[in-house]
């Protein structure tokens, strides 16, 4: 228990300082906490990975020194740049009036906002409690993420046999292990490994996701209740969090890496969209780069997402497109290469190694799989089952996007939609070329295509990566709050809600 608490406090302190250095003034305390967790958990995991990749290993003393150095550096940066970062300074163009938690709203709206925050709190409490009660149980969680956390706790490194010996191929040696490094934090404090404490950290990624989403949407729509509704929507998604009944799978309490990936993709995608409409606020681009860098250390699925961000910014970024793209993509790339990419190249690749399978022959041969892939996708998002499995998320999001109309042509929303479609396409492409198989699949399918079995196992998990971003996009685009703020840069279609307020100021 002590190890868990110390790890969370260390993450919140580090992340809180990162948040302050990035400079968004006057955010709601709930969003501040969510952002502190988001930057802190990602930052601690990245620091631990960096130390391990540099050959220093991961020890309690080493991590304490790294944490202290990072905190001291951020604190110094904050003190030194205090005058420049203060709201109201002419340097960054913020007005004192903009430095507030949320714009004023009516009494009814305020009451509704607080009323929706109550079930949101209950949902988040239930998932944190479940993570604390239940030891890791999901198959992939045990054989990959928690396995590597246990190796870190015993060996102090993942650069040994677990990453190079083919006997450990089942741990997926080229999978980036940020969540394993985070799960190892309680063991560093306690001096012994306990898989309940290791897995108890995972729900906090979900807490960060819900609170960050709440803050962004509440500020962008000028309505606390809309922010709380968006966060509650995501917090009630059965495949991710749950309010009452958890399904097995990739949920927030399952010690899987899918919710952490959702967090960093959502945070990074929204920051990139905000940077697109406010390119003069460089810290938005840095924030996007940092979060996307963390995402690449969580799962390889983040790599096509970063490519999508780059293409989207180049396509929509206007005159400053190259500088903006560089500010987002370069930090993400440096983080990935330094903390994992360079070392991972030396580890054995699986037969699921997708880049090697992306050749014309494999793609052509995989076209025959499009039928079952699209059928599975339709069954997941547009069948009666979606009511139970996704709480109507997909049809509801489509209706909200339809109500938005031309607002969707606004550049920030267009970027978000491009990212969602791009990432979904990348997943479809991966299914078409995958060489994955397993004894269970061969037994169940009796000679059929293993991809059908794989779809059943993984499709909901992959959609989970995108669901929070889709919910955010739909809620931001729809006329839910009945207000029509101006577009972020004053050009293009008007309407919807403005992502520039992601930065914490009125545009």
């Amino acid at each position: 228990m002590i190890g868990l608490v110390v790890a969370l406090v260390a993450a919140a302190v580090l992340g809180g300082l990162v948040d302050r250095v990035l400079g968004a003034p006057g955010l709601d305390p709930l969003e501040r906490f969510g952002r502190a967790l988001m930057f802190g958990l990602g930052g601690l995991g990245a620091l631990s990975m960096l130390a391990d990749s540099a050959g220093l290993g991961v020890s309690p003393f080493g991590m304490l020194m790294l944490w202290a150095a990072a905190v001291a550096g951020l604190w110094f940066r904050l003190r030194r740049g205090g005058d420049r970062a203060r709201p109201g300074s002419p340097v960054d163009g913020r007005s004192a009036a903009s430095a507030r938690s949320l714009p004023p709203e009516g009494a009814l709206s305020r009451v509704l906002g607080f009323a929706l925050l109550l079930p949101l709190g209950a949902a988040l409490f239930s998932v944190v409690r479940a993570g604390w009660q239940r030891p890791a149980f999901q198959f992939d969680a045990l054989t990959r993420w928690i396995f590597k956390a246990k190796v870190l706790a015993f060996d102090g490194t993942l650069m040994g046999p677990v990453s190079s010996d083919p006997a450990f191929a089942f741990t997926h040696q080229r999978y980036p292990p940020l969540v394993s490094h985070v799960a190892n934090l309680p063991a560093l404090v306690n001096g012994s490994f306990d898989d309940r404490l290791a897995s108890a950290l995972f729900p906090w990624f979900a807490v960060a996701l819900a609170l960050v989403l709440y803050g962004i949407v509440a500020r962008a729509t000028s309505r606390r209740w809309v922010g709380a509704a968006a966060a509650l929507w995501v917090a009630c998604l059965p495949p991710s969090l749950y309010l009452v009944f958890p399904p097995p799978g990739a949920g927030a309490a399952s010690a899987m890496a899918d919710i952490p990936l959702s967090l960093f993709l959502t945070g990074g995608g929204l920051a990139a969209a905000a940077a697109l409409v406010a390119p003069e606020q460089r810290r938005l681009a840095w924030e996007a780069g940092l979060l996307l860098g963390f995402a690449t250390l969580v799962k390889n699925e983040a790599l096509p997402f970063v490519a999508g961000v780059a293409l989207g910014l180049l396509a929509l970024g206007g005159a400053r497109r190259f500088a903006l793209t560089a500010r987002v993509v370069l930090p993400a790339s440096v983080i990935y290469v330094a903390a994992w990419g360079l070392r991972a190249q030396g580890f054995p690749a699986l037969d699921e190694h997708y880049p090697a399978q992306l050749n014309p022959d494999a793609v052509t041969a995989g076209l025959a799989r499009l039928g079952p892939i699209l059928a599975a996708l339709r069954a997941e998002v547009a069948s009666a089952d979606t009511l139970h499995r996704w709480n109507l998320t997909w049809p509801a999001a489509l209706v909200l996007l339809g109500l938005a109309g031309r607002t969707l042509l606004r550049r920030d929303l267009a970027l978000l939609l491009i990212l969602i479609v791009w990432q979904l396409s990348a997943y479809v492409l991966a299914y078409t070329v995958t060489a994955w198989s397993s004894p269970a699949a061969e037994e169940a399918l009796a000679g059929g295509d293993p991809v059908v079995f794989l779809l059943n196992l993984t499709l909901a998990r992959l959609l989970l990566h995108l669901a929070p971003l889709l919910v955010a996009t739909a809620v931001l685009a729809a006329p839910l709050a009945g207000v029509r703020p101006r577009s972020g840069d004053g050009s293009g279609p008007r309407g919807g809600h403005d992502l520039v307020s992601l930065a914490g100021e009125t545009p």
Partner: protein, 153 residues
């Protein structure tokens, strides 16, 4: 105004779908009922499982039963053997698996770490009659019930 109204109704429907899970179990669809039963089971385990790693592992094996009852019973057996192997072998010892299914072998590799698990899986052709590998301290046989024996016995 109309679009705002429709958008709000859509949002209400999303929460209504989420709230559907609050109705009594006998009126729930099968998938939801399974989820509720698993949650009740997990709650009971939470109360039963202590804070030590051993109890947590037993709890985990039971939770695995939510996916496959056969594996649950098997895992329970394994876990008894895991405890025994942990007593018999110092950290760093080696255990050979014979005739153990792949998924169980991977779980065992996790449960037994830092002891090293070696040998092919049943899917790769391993049987109870496999030759023992050099340098192995213990052998775990995937028989019914599974059992543990010292190498050379």
């Amino acid at each position: 105004m109309l679009r705002t109204l429709v958008a709000r109704i859509v949002l209400v429907l999303v929460f209504a779908a989420a709230a559907l899970k609050l109705v009594p179990a006998e009126r729930l669809p099968e998938a939801l009922r399974a989820g509720r039963e698993e949650f009740v089971g997990a709650q009971a385990l939470g109360e039963a499982v202590g804070r030590d790693g051993s109890a947590a592992r037993i709890g985990r094996s039971l939770l695995r039963g939510g996916f496959a009852q056969a594996r649950s019973r098997r895992a329970f057996h394994w876990l008894g053997l895991v405890e025994e192997a942990a007593v018999l072998l110092p950290d760093g010892g080696t255990i050979q698996l014979k005739g153990v299914p792949r998924n169980d072998a991977w779980f065992l590799a996790y449960d037994l770490y830092p002891r090293r698990v070696v040998g092919l899986t049943a899917e790769e052709g391993s049987t109870l009659e496999d030759d023992s590998l050099p340098g192995v301290d213990l052998i775990l046989l995937g028989s019914e019930p599974p059992r543990l024996e010292r190498a050379g016995e």
